[in-house]
Amino acid sequence: MKIIGTGSALPEQVVTNEELTKFLDTSDEWIVSHTGIQERRILKEGTVAGLAIEAAQRAMEAAGVAAEDIDLILCSNVVSDFVTPALGCFIAGGIGYGGQTLDVNGACTGFIKALDIADSYFAAGKAKRILVVAAEKPTYLADWTDRATCVLFGDGAGAVVLERTKESGCLATHLATQFNADFLNMPTPPTNCPFTQNKGREGYMYMNGQEVYRFAVSSCVKDLTLVAKKAGLALSEIDWFLLHQANQRILNAAQMRLKQPGEKFPGNIGRLGNTSSACIPILLDEMTRDGRLKEGQIVAFSAFGAGLTHGAAILRI
């Protein structure tokens, strides 16, 4: 498979660290030094579906394909505007598509899970072109009284159109689950069903930052080393490392352990915060449009998130 078009969409509303200090006991200096984040985008009036459709349309335009050229929509999303229908259906409606849609709730690892599924569809001969969209609003789940977590997140969407090729550009993937629901979770909203005692609970996203940091750095380094080995590549032969943008310090720690130059680790966390599974496709789109990403280059992706899920992939562009 090969990426033939990329797109992204962001909410218009920019929220700076300064604005957060108005209701949280924090400072711009603390947020920047602990996370690398200066500002983030948060949906004000728009919807996740709106962002997802906009990103999808941009990717399709860049690829020069219409809805009838697509054989599958793969959507990575944790929370959208509805519990059901799934976000993939809204994207189908938005672009005028009537085929199969498949939604993946893989938390921050969702985009890499989607790439892996797409590669399998191509290998099985079940699709010629696949639209992958990752659209997220983690700001909806965050607890805005918890200064340690709410400052981290931003909303956004990224998309790619993938095409089957004779020789797949997907050189290796690796996906794994290390089950732990204590370090990072979001409870199901409460029910008023009188016949159950399991009523769910009011609440927001919970994250144990230190444990997630430890998991993120170690899984990222292990996964990237593993996929490079699977692809028969030395880490030095990889042109770019596109890592899930969870925290600049996680990126720095992984980069140091992989012993690769910092220039190979592009980022958008400073401007956008952690946009969950949308981080990587947004970054892909930015790098494609500004010319950093060139045909023939080798890109490694790595992501980690709730589950705990983690994974990596290597693609030839």
Binding site: S33, H34, Q210, R214, V217, A253
Partner: protein
């Protein structure tokens, strides 16, 4: 023995003189924040082996030395 190794790892990580670190030094005094603590724990795990628990979170050099010695 553990203390000397721990102090050296902290000194290298924070780029400070090892002689300024005592068993009673707190992480706050050494400007070690919560994420530095995790980084250091990962470095200690690499050096001493095993998995070091972070709950309750260690707050001083002494706490870390005790955690590592408990592992051994």
């Amino acid at each position: 023995m553990t203390f000397e190794k721990v102090a050296q790892i902290i000194a290298d990580y924070k780029d400070i003189d090892v002689s300024t670190i005592t068993p009673d030094s707190t992480f706050e005094e050494l400007s070690i924040d919560s994420l530095d603590t995790v980084e250091l724990i990962m470095a200690f795990e690499d050096t001493f082996g095993g998995e070091i628990e972070m709950d309750p979170e260690p707050k001083s050099v002494k706490d870390i030395v005790a955690l590592i010695d408990a592992q051994a």
